[in-house]
Symmetry: C2
Subunit: 469 residues, 2 copies
């Protein structure tokens, strides 16, 4: 199998840029700074800037520009906010970044149906801001204030997934422009359907390689009448994980249950100016009625006690809770205080929950043996956790050590019947692990990709290595 990325073609790219510029004027930008902002910037993966950045303002403009790129066989790289972690927005074969930030209209809020339809460029925080007077909210919260289109494309999740699901469960329908410029709407607004192949779920997680998502309908939820939560320290990561496992097994409807290990807590305290306990902690939250929340929290408290957890730091007031979760969400940035001037290799795996404690304990030991500085944080209710390896990226041996660690981490997760990524996606960074995880399934993915994008122009060099192109 030829795993090479298709070679860039300067003449075709130049011709496409000229046509796009003629048609869209200043909404096609080709300055170096703008282009580099649209390559990968968040982790240690090298920046590969696109040749131009196009800012569409409508579905029809996306279609027109896709057709033009198809005519010149020029790569298209859909761009939300650029917060992805595995190099999804890089342009290894050059091409045009489609920056969706001018498409952020709220097209419909159907309060009675608990759903809304928005353009792909709207961010999750903007959506929740828009919804603030409705009593509804959109729960999916990856660390960054990502765009809804980008979140769908990477099958994102976050701290609430244990209760509300991921983008897989929360996108009801989407509109996408395919490689030939056709637009499809994948479903109606019905909550369930058995009508044909599940094109919604095919596009969710396809990372821009099958279509450019232009709008989507997502589920909303009523803001629960009661929310409570807090922070619970544990004597060991193992004890914390075992408390999580029992919580899930007992069917406690926890809305969030997040692990931060000792090094992670130290980073949070330093970066966010907190004085939380500096040992393994669970951040938990319960959503429901007053009685329901109280009951769930009590049950969790008993479980925590069984594993020598506590004392619990409760945060019932909204402001206290926001402070707690802000610290948690800033974890990615907090990591850098552990090693200023460094870049992060941010990786995630997800395992069946019964294997979680063992997987994290072995990973902590591996980090120690490898001499890496790498805090761990996890959406542990799903069996999902992240390691943020802080590296001097000018030191090739350090990169090598970190990459070897990631390879071992993935092998460990796969051996436990887990996945090489719970929510970050494959992008450029995890293609080799996708092969290890899916085997022949990757050939099936490749067949689908080649059938739907025969020219290979949609985000080439991501998820799949294509043969023969």
């Amino acid at each position: 199998m030829n795993t090479a990325i298709p070679p860039r073609d300067d003449a075709r790219i130049a011709a496409a840029l000229e046509r796009l510029s003629l048609r869209f004027g200043p909404r096609l930008q080709a300055g170096k700074a703008v282009r580099e902002q649209h390559g990968h910037t968040t982790t240690y993966i090298p920046n590969q800037a696109p040749d131009g950045v196009f800012y569409p303002e409508s579905l029809e403009e996306v279609q027109e520009a896709v057709r033009l790129c198809a005519e010149f066989r020029v790569p298209i790289i859909p761009f939300g906010t650029g917060s992805s972690l595995e190099g999804h927005v890089n342009a290894p074969a050059g091409g045009i970044s489609f920056d969706m930030s001018r498409m952020k209209r709220v097209l419909a809020v159907n309060q009675e149906d608990l759903d809304c339809t928005v353009e792909a460029g709207l961010t999750r925080e903007e959506l929740n801001q828009y919804l603030r007077d409705t009593g509804l909210f959109f729960p999916i919260d990856p660390g960054a204030n990502a765009s809804l289109g980008g979140m769908a494309a990477t099958r994102a999740s976050g701290t609430n997934a244990v209760r509300y699901g991921t983008m897989r469960e929360n996108v009801l329908s989407l509109t996408a422009v395919l490689a030939d410029g056709r637009a499809i709407k994948t479903a109606r607004r019905a909550r369930k359907s058995s009508a044909g192949y599940d094109l919604t779920r095919l596009l969710v997680g396809s990372e821009g390689t099958l279509g450019v998502i232009t709008s989507l309908t997502v589920k909303l939820y009523g803001i629960p009448p009661a929310i409570s939560g807090g922070l619970c320290p544990f004597p060991s990561v193992e004890a914390a994980c075992n408390a999580v496992i029992m919580t899930i097994q007992m069917g406690i409807l926890v809305a969030r249950i997040e692990l931060v290990n000792t090094l992670g807590m130290r980073a949070i305290n330093a970066y966010s100016k907190r004085d939380y306990p500096e040992g393994p902690c669970l951040f938990v939250e319960f959503h429901g009625t007053e009685a329901g929340v109280r009951e769930q929290a009590e049950m969790f408290g008993e479980i925590a006690g069984e594993f020598s957890g506590g004392p619990f730091v409760w945060a019932t007031a909204a402001e206290e809770r926001q402070k707690l979760w802000k610290a948690r969400h800033d974890f990615y940035w907090a990591g850098f205080v552990l090693r200023p001037g460094c870049k992060a290799l941010s990786t995630d795996v997800c395992v069946p929950i019964s294997r979680l404690a063992q997987c994290i304990v072995e990973t902590e030991a591996d980090i120690a043996e490898s001499g890496l500085i790498a805090p761990i944080v996890g959406h542990v209710g799903d069996g999902n956790f992240h390691v943020s390896v802080l590296m001097d990226i000018d030191d090739p041996t350090e990169i090598k050590r970190a990459e070897a660690f990631v390879a071992r981490l993935n092998a460990r997760a796969l051996a436990m019947d887990g996945t090489c990524t719970g929510e970050h996606g494959i992008g450029q960074g995890k293609m080799r692990y996708l092969e290890q995880e899916h085997g022949e399934g990757v050939d099936v993915m490749r067949t689908i990709k080649q059938a739907l994008d025969p020219l290979g122009i949609l985000n080439p060099g991501k998820i799949l290595a294509l043969s023969g192109t």
Copy 2:
């Protein structure tokens, strides 16, 4: 577009039968009675029997037989229990029925992870029987005691979907044999993953047209410590629907909320020998802790009262509840007491919940105007409802009238941003509505089908009409 089903080829079919018979002996059956049992038998759709029935006993045997069928370009029709309602198991171009009933081993129960892996032929009742000592259960319950493989293939759901989701949300992974005999396992056991295209969701709902599902891993749930529920009559269908809408909007975690209209209640009373109120009723059930269930039920009671519902008939004892739900599950058979000797046209649609009352009210009026005998029952928490049209299938004008009614019902649901099927699937019966619902999306489905099954041997004539074959 050529919508013809590929013509049957007697010589190739005969050759394949001979080879299969040589290889598998009596596990290849070709008697008329067996063949007819493996065509469609449940509704008015005419029976189109396969040419032979193969009873595989392992993944490898399925692979071997698929390769043999591919060699002779002979259709393969996967068969679970034959309880599908839209002609999924018919053999319009002849071919071999793959009866999965000898593949019903439980391969693993991972109690700690709340999942299990089973072979495709195991039925949902057999699975729950197997799990009876574990404290866990599998909630998805279509009317019939269907096989898990068949339920995955049709993206089935049932009365619990409002709380526990459908097969879309509950299949973690599956193993399927593709048209060329390759086997793929679509995912690991992690609860979430962003690793590549969602092949699990692509196979779920593909109705045997993309692969033969041989085993699957499904989510399990702890049997809730408290269950309560009952029956609540309403003065009108509209009032009942409005109570449902408010229940969902208020975020009450109802586990089941089922509507049966007046005619449906009459049929249930007659068939199941009950004396339930003969007006529109909601069957409801709450799962949770003692306190949680009590609170939810009280909230529901208040809502029902607001819409003049009641008095509530509670069924808290397990035996009472089973009696209640047995009556509900037997609804399909109960219908026939309304017109003995008839066949049913059983159809379903699903709409956004805000449109549910209007859709059902208009449908009841349509039934009355059409002079049809057709009770309605619905998984109304999802916006999903069924109409069972009882017909004399020897009267072509009656069939015509019923089909015209179904066309109007689907147009009504689609106009309300709903789907032509919430859980029955497309099969043979709803191909025209799939086109109306998905437009260009159907071409995308066709592209995928042709890429993965270029010979068109997997369940031809279902879901999609293929061009040029």
